[in-house]
Symmetry: C2
Subunit: 305 residues, 2 copies
């Protein structure tokens, strides 16, 4: 990695992740072929593959056996990306955000019809568990695979991502209190990031204390990520229009930036990021992988849109 | 059971199943309370609890340890009912069958709104895996729990129920070939029945050959059940209106009865049922539970609507 930039390494790793995920996707055949096509379209429509990458890099950071990556880590990182993809497919539905385009492509329900859009989301969520359960375990690895499955399920569901999405959706058109906003950010965005670092840790054989630490680090990074998103929403509007419009305000959407202002928001991002990186330094090795995971977390927070 | 009718025993067992499932449902609290309410409403709106009952009765039929029912069977039978419930919630959505009522009650999206309807279905599917993963395993039970999880996931997804639902939905308004119809029946109706008997067998510690036999028995029963449904659709119309109207034909919906006629359909139901019961007799004990499982399968096929 020494003579390559972080961006170059990230690009290569992201492509590798996409190929791993692709290798687990269903063949487009059979009477339900349109369902498989819609599922694959949803997953392969692009994306930064942040969550699966976090699983793999946390696994490496904590000294997971490279020889076991293919058999036990690949199925989980693919499952994670499928869950992220399904959540976008259902979020885009007419009854939810009603988005026609995502990343410059038609959303799944637009490309395949409303009914198949719903079913492709269902199919992907279910297929995530089918995929994680393809983990090929050596004797003694069952316990950790079951722990990782529990984290995946718990963080994706009603106590995690789906719960956050619910509070977000039922509040559409109304303004949120700060407490509600933090709940949405923690569950809708944070939960899968937390699950990713936790699963990487569990599969690497980390103890419970380390797994909890990864959960807290990811929670900080997820919150910083989301607040930074709010800041970008304002500052990119400034760059485009020459004045701050708070574009989310057009939908009466409360954001961290609208509640607390840009300055305090930026300070919170810095505080959360610093705390996460300091905490992370207490764990793991000092090799190249260690450097990459920290850079990845920094990148996540400080990306431009 | 000797001095009670099958119907009395069935009623009691169904109520027991409902209480077990209820014990795993989420508490209705927290900011996403409406989501938990909608999930619980969907599961508790009624239903015969056939699939969870099949898990429990197959487990008992094959000599599963009564002492292990609570720890490892209850989570799975509850998970199965949650998956069945979520499939109904999403089938009822406007983009799918657009049903306002089910079992005399408002469907979930009517009662809680379209967005929460979608999210309650997602939440229930996800919660099914959270629930199955609550199985409390003794050393040595992990392998079978993982096998049961694989069956649950495989049969519920794109290669099972969701796949069957897709072919059904995309064909709405068109007529199906016999081959397509059997595909839909096998996947949309059969897959979860197959999974139920397989999971009961796996958790009882059955070998692979027995598990496959249970899959085939359930496949026969599921097909007989679905064809009987088609027959009832015609004969109940006869009883009501004095002539056969083939009510499904109003929606240009192909049924087994419309393709092959009542007589051949009835003969097929009898053939499939006899084969399933004969096969089942090759396995299991001869106690009271054995009698009940056979009566349950007969009841499933020969119920009136």
């Amino acid at each position: 990695m020494s003579d390559r930039t972080f961006q170059e390494v990230l690009k290569e790793k992201t492509e590798q992740i996409t190929e791993i995920v692709r290798s687990f996707l269903p063949a487009e055949e059979g009477k339900q072929r349109i369902l498989f096509e819609a599922m694959n379209y949803s997953v392969l429509a692009g994306g930064k593959r942040i969550r699966p990458l976090l699983i793999l890099e946390t696994y490496r950071y904590l000294g997971g056996d490279p020889e076991r990556e293919k058999d036990i880590v690949y199925p989980f990182l693919s499952a994670m990306e499928m869950i992220h993809s399904y959540s976008l497919v259902h979020d885009d539905l007419p009854a939810m955000d009603n988005d026609m385009y995502r990343r410059g492509k038609m959303t799944t329900h637009v490309a395949y019809g409303h009914a198949v859009g719903i079913l492709a989301g269902d199919g992907l969520l279910n297929y995530a568990f089918e995929t994680a359960l393809k983990a090929k375990m050596l004797p003694g690895e069952q316990e950790n695979v079951l722990r990782a499955l529990r984290v995946l399920a718990d963080k994706a569901g009603a106590y995690g991502m789906v719960g956050g999405q619910t509070v977000d959706v039922i509040g559409t058109g109304k303004s949120f209190t700060g407490e509600e906003l933090l709940f949405i950010y923690k569950l809708k965005t944070g939960a899968l990031l937390e699950a990713s670092m936790m699963i990487g840790a569990i599969l690497a054989g980390a103890d419970e204390e380390t797994v909890r630490a990864m959960e807290e680090i990811a929670a900080d990074v997820g919150m910083a990520f989301q607040i930074q998103d709010d800041i970008l929403d304002v500052t990119s509007t400034v760059a485009e229009l020459g004045k701050a419009v708070f574009s989310d305000e057009k939908n009466k959407k409360t954001t961290y930036a609208s509640l607390f202002g840009i300055e305090e928001s930026s300070a919170t991002v810095e505080k959360l990021t610093a705390r996460a990186l300091a905490r992370l330094s207490e764990y793991g090795s000092n090799g190249q992988e260690s450097v990459f995971l920290k850079e990845l977390l920094m990148y996540l927070v400080h990306r431009t849109k």
